[in-house]
């Protein structure tokens, strides 16, 4: 990695020991990937909570804060594992909650803005075409690369924090033009009218093409997709396919045409997705023992428009006695949803609204599953039904309206 004078100064300790260590770490990662230089970033988004970090990670964070680490660019946090208001009711561990508070305080000392959201791209920061950022989780990265035309790799917690401290990241992967060209095409003949359909599409395209550097190019769709639809598509592609970027002809900024999206390459494969394909994806979920007592709207957190839609669907109805329904969102969306009455409608229906968390990383989730006797988890998020398996849920993807019906009737279809 070729270093500029400023980077050599950082390695020489001119910006303190924390920055020196952060850059030293980034050089090692950059060398692995053959990066030739660093690029400045304007924004960082990091995952950091006690569930993912553990005691070792917390100790490291404390040590790093004690070295005087400070963010050089605007830095936000991803969804975390505690909504402290619901900690006791959910049977979460008080000791771990105390560590989480310590961890949050530590991040704030380092100038991290603890937004606790995985939809920063909808609510906090929208980078422009060509802007280099250092983001994680994967859903934020694929949205940044694809919809904004910004440039980020999947940056894990330590890597995003290092970028935040040094204000730069090694130039490899999606920072380079070469990796941003489409590699195969997907013609959309399917109707895709529910958010879950977009997640199912991401599963159908991602699962058989698992590669970080595989970039699908969608084309032929009958209308312009909405932000929430692209969000569910991206989150599912990243989850099932480990993908960091897609193009959508006529929609995303680097895809004015199919040829432009492919960057002169011929596609390695041409796929067509029809309504029948989407229906087959839904039919592929096993219903297990038929347990329908857990319905989750999470992963990614709900946008204001998703909250509005859920409120309309739950209006005047009740979550069935003995069932639980959770929706997660961030503090900003929840505040507006309260002001607009959506939150009130949802809570009156018996939906539990969790702030600043994602359901899948909730601390103590496996014991929570056992204590409640849950076997199935129903969601309209293709991402969450994919990633929560390690907690031994049998997961079922259903359309938003069907999820609401299942929550209110306790009947799984």
């Amino acid at each position: 990695v070729e270093l500029q004078p400023e980077e050599r100064a950082i390695l020489g300790g001119e910006r303190g020991e924390a920055a020196r260590r952060a850059l030293e770490y980034q050089v090692k990662v950059g060398e692995f990937w053959g990066a030739k230089r660093f690029v400045p970033v304007t924004n960082a988004h990091m995952m950091g909570d006690i569930e993912v970090m553990g005691d070792g990670g917390l100790q490291w964070l404390k040590d790093t804060a004690a070295l005087g680490a400070r963010c050089a660019v605007g830095t936000t946090t991803n969804a975390r594992c505690f909504d402290f208001a619901h900690c006791e009711e959910l049977g979460q561990d008080a000791g771990e909650a105390a560590k989480e508070r310590e961890l949050i305080a530590c991040l704030r000392r380092m100038d991290v803005v603890t937004t606790d959201t995985c939809i920063n791209y909808q609510t906090v920061y929208q980078p422009h075409l060509g802007e280099h950022v250092a983001w994680g989780d994967t859903g934020t990265v694929i949205y940044a690369n694809s919809v904004f035309g910004a440039r980020s790799n999947f940056e894990s917690g330590p890597a995003a924090l290092a970028a935040a401290i040094t204000g730069r990241t090694p130039e490899y992967g999606f920072h380079l033009d070469a990796h941003r060209r489409g590699s195969f095409t997907v013609e959309l003949q399917a109707t895709l009218d529910d958010l879950a359909d977009w997640g199912a599409l991401g599963k159908l395209v991602g699962e058989p093409h698992q590669s970080y550097f595989s970039v699908p190019v969608f084309h032929g769709y009958r209308r312009s997709p909405a932000a929430d639809e692209l969000k569910h598509l991206g989150a599912a592609l990243a989850s099932y396919g480990s993908m960091g970027m897609f193009h959508f002809v006529g929609v995303t900024p680097e895809a004015p045409s199919l040829d432009a999206a492919l960057g002169g390459r011929s596609p390695a494969e041409r796929i067509v997705i029809t309504d029948a394909d989407i229906e087959r994806a839904y039919a592929g979920y096993r219903l297990g023992d038929g347990d329908a007592r857990l319905v989750v709207f999470s992963g990614p957190q709900q946008s204001l428009f998703e909250m509005k839609q859920l409120a309309a669907l739950f209006d005047g109805r009740k979550v069935k006695a003995g069932s639980r329904c959770f929706a997660t969102t961030n503090g900003a969306v929840l505040a507006q949803a309260r002001a607009l009455g959506y939150a009130g409608t949802l809570e009156a229906a018996g939906v539990t609204l969790l702030e600043g968390v994602c359901f899948y990383i909730l601390q103590n989730l496996s014991p929570m599953r056992v204590a409640n006797g849950w076997t199935n988890l129903v969601s309209n998020s293709a991402k969450i039904v994919n990633i929560i398996g390690a907690h031994r849920f049998n997961t079922i993807l259903r359309r938003t309206r069907d999820c609401v019906d299942i929550a209110c009737t306790g009947v799984l279809k």
Binding site: S156, G157, P158, I361, A390
Partner: protein, 136 residues
């Protein structure tokens, strides 16, 4: 048996091989308290990765994997090395952060050449993996 790797980081290490036909995520597949693969149906279900040299064809999983390697290293249940066919940035960022040796890309493919239980050496500087002795 010698296998060349394309990219590598970390100290030279040797240990017992665990060879997987299936990809790996420290979040989806691994119990982060015991160091054992617990995901139901994973081809290595029940196998401990502690102190092993792990061969995985692909990487799975999201951003959270980045902290997970440091977590298992802290708990002293980490593998000595990860040898991936294809990996992703999060695995590399996580392994480098935790000080665990990691490589990507292999020629030839270790299938049929290295078996679980063989004693192998990973040399990042030489970009080489070799079998030192066969499983007893």
């Amino acid at each position: 048996v010698k296998i060349a790797v394309e990219r590598a980081y970390g100290d030279a290490v040797e240990g017992e091989a665990v060879v997987s036909e299936e990809g790996f995520s420290p979040r989806y597949d691994l119990d982060r308290w015991s160091g054992t693969i617990t995901k139901p149906g994973h081809k290595l279900e029940g196998t401990s990765l502690k102190d092993k040299i792990c061969f995985f064809p692909t990487a799975k999983g999201g951003i959270a994997a980045g902290w997970a390697f440091y977590d298992i290293k802290w708990k002293k249940i980490a593998p000595k090395a990860f040898v991936f066919g294809v990996t992703n940035p999060v695995m590399v960022q996580g392994a480098v952060f935790a000080g665990i040796t990691i490589t990507e890309g292999w020629a030839p493919h270790p299938r049929g050449l290295i078996e679980t239980g063989d004693w192998v050496r990973v040399d990042p500087a030489g970009k080489l993996v070799e079998v030192l002795r066969r499983r007893q």
